[in-house]
């Protein structure tokens, strides 16, 4: 028996040592290998509100409060948790990177999850800022009455097609007819033709809970104006996925946030009454409201933002922050 257990024991012992060693190495390099842009400060971990596993409401509130009531100086301390819409995520992330460069003692944890999750988490006070690309719904307003909204950027929604499609401009009416299924072939649309295919239109949209789709479908300035989209519309779960699908499907049409328009797709100018007055979905046109399909992007806080959250949001609203908004392809407020 002894002879048999020894080798097994060694193997198990070896694995355990390997495991512990790996964790120790990873943990010890904690302070050594940080973001190269910022000098490391390991003591900040002590202030993280999440480290309190106690479930009493008082402790929770105190912990949440301590994360947001750090002194509002340029050397900010504390940890800020930001979560929510993946449309606003790039803005929050880039702004956080720039902000952290000048505030070495602070930490900002950014994550996605969707507008719905973001609103819930800020309402339940498990994060400090909730990002959203849509307004609060009625249920959310009743459940979380003290949420405070800050507009951080504007965003336009562009209609895109595959570059192989010969169409140059599209009328709002045609777009609506395509999305409701009245028009099914590119040959029925003025200027539309996809050489090498039978001109069948592939309609691509977003999932029904998406803020982007809500604007496209419902908003007064949107295209569908409340009519239900055709049942054969392919639904994608993100702007990136829509762009990808349009880019590789010759007969496809879709809509994305203008930050996602790149060289692999063609964004169409839209006309309403006069084909010569088609408006392209550029940032300038959204800013001047010449292009009407646009929306605002929000950050929600519990009550007015204070402390670190106030400073961070203030940074985003400042000229530097709005420059970042523009760089990411969104439309700045100024």
């Amino acid at each position: 028996m002894n002879k048999r257990t020894h080798p097994r024991l060694f193997v198990i012992l070896g694995l355990v040592i390997l495991l512990v060693g790996a964790m120790a190495v990873a943990g010890c390099t904690d302070s050594a290998k940080k973001t190269s842009a910022v000098p490391p400060v390991p003591t900040t971990a002590v202030l993280t509100p999440s480290q309190a596993p106690v479930s009493s409401p008082a402790a929770q509130q105190a912990a949440a409060a301590s994360g947001t009531t750090a002194p509002a100086t340029s050397g900010q301390k504390g940890t800020l948790k930001v979560s929510g819409s993946t449309t606003v995520l790039p803005i929050a992330q880039k702004a956080a990177e720039a902000y952290l460069a000048t505030n070495p003692d602070a930490d900002i944890q950014v994550t996605g999850g969707g507008s719905g999750v973001g609103v819930q988490q800020i309402g339940e006070k498990s994060v400090d800022i909730g990002m959203s690309s849509r307004e609060l719904s009625a249920t959310e307003k009743t459940k979380y009455p003290i949420l405070y909204k800050t507009v951080v950027a504007k965003d336009g929604i562009a209609i895109i097609v595959n570059p192989a499609n010969e169409i140059r401009v599209i009328s709002a009416q045609n777009a609506a007819d395509i999305y409701t299924g009245k028009i099914t072939k590119w040959s029925q649309v003025f200027g539309g033709n996809v050489p090498g295919t039978n001109n069948q239109i592939v309609v691509v949209g977003r999932d029904s809970a998406s803020g982007t789709r809500e604007f496209f479908d419902k908003d007064g300035a949107g295209i569908l104006k409340g009519a239900p989209p055709v049942k054969s519309m392919l639904e994608k779960n993100s702007n990136g996925a829509v762009t990808q699908t349009i880019a590789q499907t010759p007969g496809a049409i879709g809509y994305v946030s203008i930050g996602f328009v790149d060289s692999s797709v063609k964004a169409l100018p839209i006309w309403w009454n006069d084909p010569d007055k088609a408006v392209a979905p550029t940032r300038e046109n959204v800013l001047t409201k010449a292009y009407p399909i646009n929306r605002e992007l929000f950050m929600f806080t519990n009550g007015q933002p204070t402390g670190l959250a106030k400073d961070y949001i203030g940074f985003i609203l400042s000229p530097d922050g709005q420059k970042i908004v523009g760089e990411e392809g969104y439309v700045s407020l100024i």
């Binding site: 900002i108 999850g113 969707g114 719905g116 609103v119 029904s208 779960n237 990136g240 699908t245």
Partner: protein, 659 residues
């Protein structure tokens, strides 16, 4: 205790002393046995508790939709339009979509898997086997997001150009992708089951003159049927519960294919709907409740399919081993009477359907082939039949390997340029477009190791309790059903459960521990089933011999029963590691952040993780293509690293088994 007469004094006292100490030793041994048995019982209980908690939580949150819409309208409504006015919550089309896609996936995966499993365990030379088995387990380690992207970029394009349809996002794409994802599970566990069939069966069959193929098809595979069924159930659970990959390639259009066998039509599955809408929906709203209603229906479907599979298994087993049930004479004669006409009638209908569905030019060759097979089958000599069968098996192995190579080359070719020392050791910059992924690597490592450390004791313990300490009874069948149910739960439901229970209710917050527990729950069924199957394959004679020699139950288990079962347990661990490392949905709401400055220093803090990082890069950060593939490649390498340790342990134990 009586003193024997006529024995010298000092011996009596030695005897007496040893008798007393033996008795107290026996008592303490018994206490230890009871203690150990209680521990295993508690682990088995934990699996049931987990299932019930999840079920409870799902039902609670889905109640509003069942109250407002009613169960029947919910199940049979044909419009899913939650943002309509009034909103409509009818999931019939979604159910059809799920059934079609999963059925297609099983049709694709099961023949290929059984063929591969037979090849690996019976036909492959040792060197090929040592390469093939880990290679196929590698398929299990590819993250679901990567499968989704492979599907979106490569598979749908191929389908679009091959079949000349407007878009490749179809039922066919979904089935193929899900089939590929279920392959490693089914192959690995079937292979373990087949190789555990006692050698005497095989030797006896060959001794009476059967060819190798006859032995395999009539003796070995039926002997491994229990394991193969478990493998198929686990594979089915994997397929039906997959969220991310399926929502990327099926198009998510809520339509029933027209005609119903049109594999080139887009479809929408229940999990796809969950995955695509869950993040954006307002918590607590009717839409939210409807999504939870979908999760409940998914569990119900899994339950039904599992029950059917178990019934089929019992039926097959009875047929092969002469079951205890005997049908009445009247019933038997009746069945014999109608059997022939029934078969002929069914054949006629099938031919008519074939001609109606497919064009004339396709139906005739198919019919010709089938007719040829039927007639030739009986005229082939066993040797020739063997050649045909082996040819088919080798074809299936080649197809699976081809798939693996296609996937890997896609990741490796695009990801290799991104690999560099900075990439591996720095934090991400510019939204992940540049910089590195070091914190995500560490985070994934922590998550996987933690999940496995939780899942192995619970899973192995539960299986030990079920097999060793209890007889097969209603209670154990109930536990097994609960475990299979857990297996079919979509990964995103685990994520939501983790969010509501661990993050909010237990107030862990978004933290490493919440992610580890959620992942552990997700892989628990795989661990339990794999361990159960390997324990079941240990011959009863070994246990009886050990007990006859005076060993206690626990001694028998851990010295006689467990060691030969370790390879099977390790296979289960490997599959679990692969799944835990690659899943995004369970950790999305419970453990991860996209970025933070410092590495996690306690289990109550959130972490970064590779699958989530990959997911965000791919869906929301335009212009990050290289880093995206680099992340996928690093994740794959990390999984391979952990695999190597596990495979080393498995080979070590297998060598000891062979002696």
């Amino acid at each position: 205790m009586e003193m024997p007469r006529g024995i010298p004094g000092n011996l009596i006292s030695a005897d007496a002393r040893s008798a007393v100490s033996q008795k107290s030793a026996a008592i303490s041994r018994e206490r230890k046995e009871t203690a150990i048995r209680t521990i295993w019982f508690l682990t088995a209980l934990s699996a049931i508790i987990a299932v019930f908690f999840i079920l409870l939580f799902l039902l609670r949150d889905s109640l509003p939709v069942f109250e407002n819409t009613g169960i029947i309208p919910f199940l049979t409504g044909t419009t899913w339009y939650p943002t309509g006015n009034p909103p409509e919550y009818g999931i019939l089309i979604l159910i059809v979509g799920t059934v079609l896609v999963t059925l297609g996936a099983m049709v694709f995966a099961v023949p290929l898997s059984i063929g591969c499993a037979i090849y690996i365990s019976e036909l492959a030379p040792l060197r090929a086997k040592n390469i093939l088995k880990p290679a196929i387990e590698l398929l299990a380690g590819i993250p679901s997001v990567v499968y989704g992207f492979f599907g979106l970029v490569v598979l749908t394009d191929v389908i679009r150009t091959t079949f000349d349809t407007p878009t490749g996002e179809t039922w066919l794409a979904g089935s193929i992708l899900l089939g590929i994802m279920a392959l490693p599970t089914i192959i690995s566990i079937s292979e373990d089951a087949i190789s555990m069939v006692p050698r005497e069966y095989k030797e006896g069959s060959l001794a009476i003159g059967a060819t190798r193929w006859q032995t395999i098809s009539r003796v070995i595979v039926p002997g491994a049927l229990s394991g193969i069924t478990a493998a198929i159930i686990l594979g089915f659970g994997r397929a039906i519960g997959e969220t991310m990959a399926v929502l990327m390639v099926t198009g998510n259009a809520a339509i029933i294919p027209d005609p119903i066998w049109n594999v080139l039509s887009p479809v929408r599955t229940l999990t796809g709907t969950l995955g695509i809408e869950m993040g954006e929906v307002a918590v607590g709203s009717d839409h939210y409740a409807a999504l939870f209603g979908i999760a409940v229906i998914l569990l119900a479907i899994t339950l039904i399919v599992n029950s059917i599979a178990v019934m089929i298994l019992n039926n097959l087993r009875e047929r092969h081993m002469g079951g205890a049930h005997r049908k009445s004479i009247a019933l038997q004669t009746l069945l014999a009477w109608i059997k022939r006409p029934l078969i002929l009638g069914g054949l006629f209908l099938f031919i008519v359907a074939l001609f109606l569905i497919l064009s004339f030019y396709v139906a005739v060759p198919i019919l010709a082939c089938l007719g040829a097979v039927y007639f030739i089958r009986d005229r082939l000599s066993p040797k020739q039949a063997e050649k045909v069968a082996f040819g088919l098996i080798i074809t299936s192995v080649i197809i699976v390997l081809l798939i693996l190579v296609l996937l890997l080359q896609d990741i490796v070719i695009h990801g290799l340029p991104a690999l560099s020392w900075e990439f591996l050791t720095q934090s991400p910059k510019d939204l992940g477009r540049s910089g590195g992924i070091f914190p995500a690597i560490v985070g994934t490592f922590y998550l996987v190791i933690g999940a496995i450390l939780i899942a192995i004791p619970l899973g192995v313990g539960a299986a030990i309790y079920l097999i060793e300490y209890t007889k097969e009874s209603r209670v154990t069948r109930f536990i097994r059903t609960a475990v299979d149910l857990l297996n079919g739960t979509p990964s995103i439901v685990f994520g939501l459960f983790g969010l509501a229970f661990l993050v909010y209710f237990l107030d862990f917050g978004v933290s490493l521990i919440a992610g580890q527990v959620t992942l552990a729950l997700m892989v628990l069924p795989t661990m339990i089933r794999a361990t159960e199957e390997s324990l079941k394959n240990i011959p009863q004679s070994l246990r009886e011999g050990s007990l006859a020699l005076g060993a206690t139950r626990w001694q028998t288990i851990h010295r006689v029963v467990l060691p030969p079962a370790v390879p099977g347990i390790v296979t289960g661990t490997i599959l679990s590691i692969g799944r835990a490392a690659g899943e995004t949905a369970p950790i999305m709401f419970t453990a991860v952040v996209f970025s933070q400055r410092y590495l996690t220093s306690s289990v109550f803090e959130p972490v970064m993780a590779l699958p989530y990082h990959l997911y965000i890069l791919a869906t929301n950060v335009p212009g990050s293509s290289t880093n995206k593939y680099g992340t996928a490649l690093v994740l794959l390498l990390l999984v391979i690293g952990i695999y190597s340790v596990a495979i080393f342990v498995r080979t070590h134990f297998q060598k000891k088994l062979r002696g």
